[in-house]
């Protein structure tokens, strides 16, 4: 089972060219070819089983919880496409080696190309709808990179953008379609989906599914009216056009239709949409191709036309037509890729692709001319070339249909007209380029290309001839297995032969050839007729549409986003109100069954202080210092609330944080204006008050409902296992350092990052240091009063001792790393306040950044340590020891983790406050970011 490797090898190959680019062009090309060639070898190893009619599958769990798998399959259709993708891919690698100039970055080109190859291989091998879609999108992206390879050209950029927009939009439609299919069938597995054709066709949503999937296919395969991106994608280097825009990517849409043929086809709707789109595309492409002066433009429209032909065949709902479609996929890929390569050679060796200048090249490059002429004759559908065979089958299919009721005879007629134009533009390709006088004003004298540049063309042209002359030997087996996979049932009787006797299809072929000759001979009249019509430039129209969309978006954004934070916040809160209050309106009961705790005087007093000081904060918010004092009262009451309702850890933390926060805000207030002017209008004030009161009401109601409803918690587990599993009796601390240790670990990392971000913001902050307060009262001329100095200095050891005590007992009694860290910080900050930065600097040489990093590292390594003994990340280890004199004591790895928390908290707090404090002194210029 090596299916995974068929996808994986090209994916790994994406890296190869980037590594070998520097070793020269030939080595680079050679090394690039190795992995796809290996993948092709793997395909060949499975050849026997597939030819026996088996479907090889491989499934690897990807995200089992969501039922997502990496699922691959290899059946006849996949095999056919794999041969095309990998085989032609290898030829293109060789060709591109000679095509790219020394100025082009070969490594980049090959990397994109192989990425694209991976994506295509992934599409055809996927056995899961979502996976298929992911690879589908990857082709859009990699083709965008390839088309815009010469990104200095405006054409290339615009063409790439157009291709990405059209195929990307189609991809979204496809995703919707695939999701609906998955919904109908109940599985995204392709095997299941392919077996549920009747279910899907009978479902009410079938038309929607069909249209969505076809939108994906039609955009990718450049079907009318989405065909216009393909000619503009010709701005890509020619190897890309040969590979993507003839042999593979545009065939992805065809592949999709063939893949879902057993599921979606067979209905009248399929028939109408697919066959009529195909017919329109066939005629339009063939007609326009004749008038293109650019070689690649001609080939692009010819490709559109042939893709239309294949689509038309698939849309006919007949087994025979489906076989013909598959056959034409093979034939078109071989002759069109070789034609693109020949066009590239001509461009490369003569410096032009304009057929008005290119004339009489036969004299200069007879060998290339012969190859190109064979491929062009095959495109025209001349007998003995492979294009003839599938064209005959196409004619047969058009004769055996009854699409348009009694007007059905019109289809074979239109098919013959299309074929006649195909003959005409093929003739133009041959005659205009290789004969028809002398070249006109070419930038350089044409000559034969390097030997090996012709090899890929030779191989493909040989294939055209072999298939054309000995179809039974060369291609029948492959065609059989591929058709078998598409039809999922009996194959129709068909006979691949050059000569079927005199019959109507042969007559139609002859008619088409004669018609083509006549059209080409009288082309002057046609050209003159066509020149009366103004040629619509898809690029201008498309760009116009894009520009108007962009303008609309900009206008909308400008109305919504006027740059006012106040407006955003009020919109945000209004939305919150709507979202939160909506469900509450439907609720009739907001009191639960839980019995309430009776009120007492202490609680009422506390609530009164809290409410009054919160209101005072708001009321005096323009006198900032006063508001700040009231804010600190609120914080203290909150910490008392925690203490009262059995949360000693929270009370301690809140108390410590409160001190640090207020010091921080006081420091900030030193720099910021100390009062705010009145600037909100009364209407705005009442609006804001209304919004905030409503939200406050909603939040209060919700919390009342929560408080009175019975408790249903998972905490019993923590209470039961805290001592036995975590080795501590303070359950809150055990949760922090053990049960939910991973969260805490993330939390201290965030804390560290925030501190570093603040440090960076402070660096080079140019703030004016006020010399007096707002009322022009100068600052105290004794910034470090002696009493404060003395007391704080003697308090320091005591404070550190308390913090050590709190830290050590944290596992079993209220305390722990967070609280101890905050207490230590407060103790150090006190020294800063009392003595100033200048005094502290020589005495306390701690780099707070290292403290943060060290803390996080200690926590991380403690967590990793449990891996050494084969336990999951952050599993606690603990044991009890006995030492003489000290007695029984316990050692737990959690304390090491808590040490990490402690260090990070101290480091982060001090990094913020010490540096902010430094800004107020003459040491302010010492703060530097690392830039």
């Amino acid at each position: 089972m090596n299916l995974l490797w068929i996808v994986l090898l090209p994916l790994l190959g994406t890296m190869v060219p980037l590594l070998t680019d520097r070793f020269g062009r030939s080595i680079c090309a050679l090394s690039v070819a190795i992995l796809p060639a290996w993948a092709l070898l793997l395909v060949f190893m499975n050849l026997g089983e597939v030819f026996d009619g088996q479907v090889i599958r491989q499934t690897i769990d990807w995200i089992p919880a969501m039922g997502l798998q990496l699922a691959f399959r290899l059946d006849g259709l996949t095999l056919l496409f794999l041969l095309l993708i990998l085989g032609i891919g290898l030829l293109v690698i060789l060709y591109a080696r000679y095509y790219l100039s020394a100025k082009d970055s070969m490594g980049r080109f090959y990397a994109y190309l192989i990425l694209f190859m991976t994506a295509m291989v992934g599409i055809v091998m996927s056995n899961n709808l979502i996976q298929l879609w992911m690879f589908w999108e990857l082709t859009s992206i990699s083709s965008f990179l390839l088309i815009s390879f010469w990104s200095h050209k405006s054409d290339a950029r615009k063409g790439a953008r157009m291709a990405l927009t059209i195929t990307g939009a189609g991809g979204l439609a496809l995703l919707a379609g695939l999701l609906m299919i998955g919904n109908i069938v109940g599985s995204y597995h392709l095997d299941t989906v392919l077996a549920s054709g009747d279910l899907i066709r009978a479902h009410a949503a079938y038309p929607v599914v069909l249209i969505l999937v076809l939108l994906g296919a039609f955009t990718k395969s450049a079907q009318f009216p989405f065909h216009f991106w393909l000619p503009h994608a010709m701005a890509a280097p020619t190897p890309v056009s040969a590979y993507l825009h003839s042999a593979t990517m545009v065939k992805a849409g065809i592949f999709l239709m063939a893949r879902f043929y057993p599921v979606l086809a067979g209905t009248d709707l399929w028939f109408m949409i697919v066959s009529l789109t195909g017919l329109a595309t066939l005629l339009l492409g063939a007609y326009i191709a004749l008038f293109k002066h650019d070689l690649k433009g001609l080939l692009a429209y010819s490709t559109i036309s042939h893709l239309g032909l294949i689509t038309l065949l698939l849309g006919m709902n007949s087994d025979m037509a489906a076989v013909a479609a598959i056959f034409h996929i093979i034939n078109h890929a071989t002759f069109k890729a070789s034609l693109f390569m020949a066009a590239g050679i001509i461009d490369h060796e003569s410096g032009s692709r304009d057929m008005r200048k290119l004339n009489g090249l036969w004299k200069y490059m007879p060998y290339t001319a012969t190859l190109a002429m064979v491929a062009a004759l095959s495109m025209a559908g001349v007998p003995l070339f492979n294009g003839f065979l599938s064209k005959e089958m196409f004619f047969v299919a058009t004769l055996n249909q009854s699409m348009l009721g009694s007007l059905s005879w019109i289809v074979p007629l239109l098919a013959t007209v299309g074929a006649a134009f195909s003959v005409a533009y093929s003739l133009r390709f041959i005659h205009d380029v290789f004969f028809n006088g002398e070249p006109i004003g070419l930038p350089k004298t044409p000559k034969e290309p390097p030997r090996y540049m012709k090899v890929p063309v030779e191989i493909l042209v040989t294939l055209c001839l072999l298939v054309g002359i000995f179809p039974g030997y060369v291609v029948e087996g492959l065609l059989n297995v591929a058709s078998y996979a598409v039809l999922a049932g009996e194959l129709p009787e068909y006979n691949l032969a050059v000569w079927h006797g005199f019959n109507i299809p042969l007559f139609m072929s002859l008619l088409a050839m004669a018609g083509g000759l006549i059209i080409y001979y009288n082309r002057r009249h046609l050209f003159q007729f066509q020149s009366h019509f103004e040629e619509p430039d898809a690029k201008h129209i498309f760009e116009g549409v894009i520009q108007s969309i962009v303008q609309f978006c900009q206008k909308t954004v400008a109305t919504l986003e006027n740059g006012s934070l106040q407006r955003y916040i009020s919109l945000l809160f209004l939305m919150t109100l709507v979202m939160a209050a909506g469900p509450l309106l439907g609720l009739h009961e907001n009191t639960g069954s839980r019995s309430e705790i009776p009120l007492d005087g202490i609680a009422l007093t506390g609530a009164g202080v809290l409410i009054l000081s919160a209101a005072a904060t708001v009321f005096w918010h323009r006198s900032r210092f006063i508001a700040l004092l009231f804010l600190s009262v609120v914080g203290l009451v909150v910490s008392l609330i925690f203490a009262r309702f059995s949360a000693p850890d929270l009370a301690l933390t809140q108390l410590a944080v409160e001190i640090v926060t207020i010091i921080l805000l006081l420091l900030a207030l030193f720099f910021l204006p100390q009062s705010t002017q009145k600037e909100s209008s009364p209407s705005r004030l009442s609006r804001d008050l209304l919004v905030s009161a409503l939200i406050g009401g909603v939040i209060g109601t919700i919390s009342y409902a929560i408080l009175t409803s019975p408790l249903d918690t998972i905490s019993d587990f923590f209470l039961a296992n805290s001592k036995t599993g975590g080795g501590g009796t303070n359950v809150v601390n055990v949760i922090l350092v053990d049960f939910r240790g991973f969260d805490t670990w993330g939390e201290i990392t965030v804390l560290g990052i925030a501190a570093l971000g603040i440090f960076k913001l402070m660096a080079r902050m140019r703030l004016y240091v006020p010399i007096s307060d707002e009322k022009a009262r100068p600052w105290s001329n004794d910034p470090h009063p002696m009493i404060l100095e003395m007391i704080s200095q003697s308090l320091l050891p005591l404070a550190l001792l308390v913090s050590a005590y709190i830290f050590l007992r944290g596992h079993n009694l209220p305390g722990g790393g967070f609280i101890a860290g905050l207490i230590t910080s407060v103790a150090i900050i006190q020294q800063y306040i009392a003595h100033g930065v200048k005094w502290i600097k020589p005495r306390l040489k701690i780099d707070y950044q290292w403290l943060i990093a060290g803390g996080i590292l200690i926590a991380t390594f403690t967590g990793l340590g449990s891996w050494l003994v084969g336990r999951p990340f952050l599993t606690t280890w603990f044991d009890h020891f006995h030492l003489p004199w000290i007695g029984e004591f316990e050692l737990a790895s959690a304390i090491l983790f808590d040490l990490g928390v402690y260090l990070t908290v101290v480091g982060a707090t001090m990094l913020i406050l010490a540096n902010l404090g430094k800004l107020t002194t003459s040491e302010r210029f010492d703060i530097r970011g690392h830039d």
Binding site: S564, L565, I597, P598, L599, A607, I611, A614, V618, H621, L628, L631, V634, I641, R644, F645, S646, A647, T653, V657, T661, L664, L665, A668, L672, T676, S680, S681, D688, V691, S692, G696, I699, G700, S703, Y704, I706, L707, T708, L711, T713, S715, F718, L719, S722, T729, N730, V731, V732, L736, E747, A754, I758, L761, L767, N812, P814, A908, I912, L916
Partner: protein, 121 residues
């Protein structure tokens, strides 16, 4: 008791949001601080109110729910980091823009304060 507690949470939320909607950075910072008190109390409420039953094993007969406490404890510390970040951002904005208005510039009076009455108002 629960009703008073819920009322306090509501008042704190109201005051916090009102201040966050003001136009000056320092008011917004104070508003955010009030709001984070409210949020912490709100989260704490999900463990319900229980007295004299700290979640320290062996210290009382029944225990309160320790999980919300652990969550709120980290929330307090992270809240401090966030407040600090916003404060420093406000200072930086004041230093770079020369104004402590939340938008970095003071809106024209005609659009905010002295808007003439429109028809129908």
């Amino acid at each position: 008791m629960e009703g008073v507690y819920a009322f306090c949470v509501g008042v704190l939320t109201t005051c916090g949001i009102f201040l966050t909607l003001r136009g000056r950075t320092f008011s917004v910072v104070m508003g955010l601080t009030l709001l984070s008190y409210a949020v912490n109390l709100f989260l704490f409420a999900s463990g319900r109110l229980k007295m004299n039953s700290a979640a320290v094993l062996g210290q009382s007969a029944s225990y309160t729910d320790p999980l919300p406490q652990a969550l709120v404890l980290t929330a307090i510390v992270i809240g401090f980091a966030m407040t600090a970040f916003v404060v420093i951002l406000a200072m930086r904005s004041y230093a770079d823009q020369g104004s402590d208005h939340v938008d970095g510039r003071i809106p024209q009076p005609s659009t905010s304060v002295y808007r003439p009455l429109k028809r129908g108002q």
